[in-house]
Symmetry: C2
Subunit: 348 residues, 2 copies
């Protein structure tokens, strides 16, 4: 019998078809490497120099409205542009390129500069979910848009350049690498079984109840069996639907609750604002048959040992294979043990 908590092994990521390496015995390794700065706590509710706060002006001179919940605008430094001609380049089949067209938006989650998702009121989180759905609907109406990536970089350790809570949406004219992988695996499974891959995966995880963190009416949050990042999780809808567009009001309310509980558990692990990159994976749009696709949201948090020591996905991981030290089951245990009340809210 393979002993997950003692033997080095690899596990298959069902969504990408790729393996990750698990070295459970390695967590005892001492750490003399880089220690991150702790982001100072206690930001003001309003920062006159923040380009996301209500009433402030942005890089291009536009003045933000005096918004009350969430607020969206085109990224002043978009990585993709709507206005670009579509060309191809091919030299001897060795230098291959093509233009990419897109729209990049920024979503401020709250007028409050000092809050993050786990500290926001449930109604405010719900407003973010509503806005995501609206934006997805609007962007998918451009026929040239094929894929819409909704995501958040939280914390300066994750390259976030402004502590005001916000996320991004990049919508583009072709289907990105990671989505192509998940497309292949999900379609293959659906063609074989008539069920979505995540439907069956979630059923099995619920039966085993080892890695499930949250299980409510419409969603589960689980540490995937194949998680690569130390505290990686995935939120999956119980209904096998392809995009956020199909979510009912009830499902949206439940997603808001799930997001709140999961991010509170994260913050509580190290009593710190837990950094991560998170984002939804959804069916491509304007691209024909999308059966097999099942809405889910990945959380990739880098912290490993403490609020200041992260996992580095570097040499071996970049050149060969993602690798992790603690097992997904150990991470799930830690997440399950956390309180669902935010540590800052607690008075003892």
């Amino acid at each position: 019998m393979l002993n997950f908590s003692e033997q080095p092994h690899k596990r298959k990521n069902l969504l990408t078809g790729e393996y990750i390496l698990v070295s459970p015995h390695r967590s005892k390794r001492p750490w003399q490497g880089q220690v991150e700065d702790l982001t100072p706590d206690g930001r003001p509710q309003y920062d006159p120099k923040c380009y996301l706060c209500p009433g402030n002006s942005r890089a291009d001179g536009t003045v933000n409205p005096d918004y009350k919940d969430s607020f969206v605008f085109i990224n002043d430094f978009s990585a993709l542009l709507e206005d670009t001609s579509m060309e191809r380049f091919d030299e001897e089949n060795l230098l291959i390129a093509e233009s990419e067209r897109g729209i990049c938006k920024v979503i401020s989650f709250s007028p409050r500069h000092d809050l993050t998702l786990p500290e926001m009121e449930i109604e405010a989180i719900q407003a973010v979910v509503d806005l995501w759905q609206c934006e997805f609907r609007e962007l998918s109406q451009y026929e040239w848009i094929k894929y819409i990536q909704i995501f958040e970089n939280k914390g300066s350790i994750m390259g976030c350049s402004n502590p005001h809570p916000h996320g991004q949406i990049w919508a583009q004219s072709s289907i990105p690498v990671e989505i192509t992988k998940e497309d292949v695996q999900q379609k293959r499974y659906f063609e074989k079984t008539g069920r979505t891959l995540l439907q069956d995966y979630v059923s099995l995880e619920r039966k085993k109840n080892e890695r499930i963190i949250i299980d409510n009416t419409h969603f589960v949050a689980v540490v995937p069996f194949w998680a690569a990042w130390p505290y990686e999780t995935m939120i999956v809808s119980k209904r096998a639907i392809g995009t956020i567009l199909e979510f009912t009001a009830e499902e949206k309310a439940d997603l808001a609750k799930t997001l709140q509980e999961l991010t509170i558990r994260y913050d509580n692990i190290f009593k710190t604002s837990f950094p991560y990159s998170a984002g939804m994976h959804q069916a491509p749009v304007n691209s024909g048959d999308q059966s097999g696709w099942h809405w889910h949201m990945h959380f990739y948090p880098p912290l490993l040992r403490s609020a200041t020591v992260k996992k580095f996905m570097v040499g071996y991981e970049m050149l060969a294979n993602p690798q992790r030290d603690i097992t997904p089951e150990q991470a799930a245990n830690t997440l399950k043990q956390q309180d669902t009340v935010h540590y800052k809210q607690k008075t003892t």
Copy 2:
């Protein structure tokens, strides 16, 4: 005509078959995000607390010999173990795992605690290359070993936990994800043309001479057309050989020179010890026909704007697609303009 320096576009990585996104117009974006600590210069030549310095003792009590050039030993905190039973785990074809067996070694590049590759004498770098070849030969003699990853994490920003110059070798019983991708692409090309992919790619790059940084008798160093990291480069052997085992004495000497020049150019860009993860990609061993494989070494350095501001491969990049701001041609220009004398060696 696609204008590489103005239009957002994607480029195909010939070795993986995957695309990367280029946003040339985006380098003007202001940066208010994380700024790295500058690693303090001026380490002692010998550090009594360093587990790599000659004569010191390591975690397990072993005392390092009084070595004169490079020195290799089994990693005291190996991610892979030689002694593990080979098992498989499969639950409903949804939870899939198998044990992985391996050997992890550490190579100290020099007895001197204060040096890095770009500051070492050419003879000392040559000794490292010799040791790589010896180790590769020795490890490939274990029939159960299928792939040998030689790499270096340089700088604390790349997760390196000890500033003493060193690299690592992880040898293992199966073929990792990144190698499998390159295997597929290189074999496919070879079957179609009878030449290796990198042979033809290097010829074309030499003809164009836009992205070539170093071109000597036996090697080129090039910013790949599809580079993802800001100053990513690749060293490729001119002879189409699969592994370091086949290098002649002359080739090894030339590789040492190429490594020295490339890393000096890196250090000179921002007048800092330039961090990177670097490693060779070579044909799998003990795995049958390996035609199509062509030895090369990748350099993935994170710095983008200065000695303290790096590129973050986060939200969009993790969830969707690698993305870069400056173009590979701009990066190549900067690298070409650098002096081949190390900035610390210069007296003005």
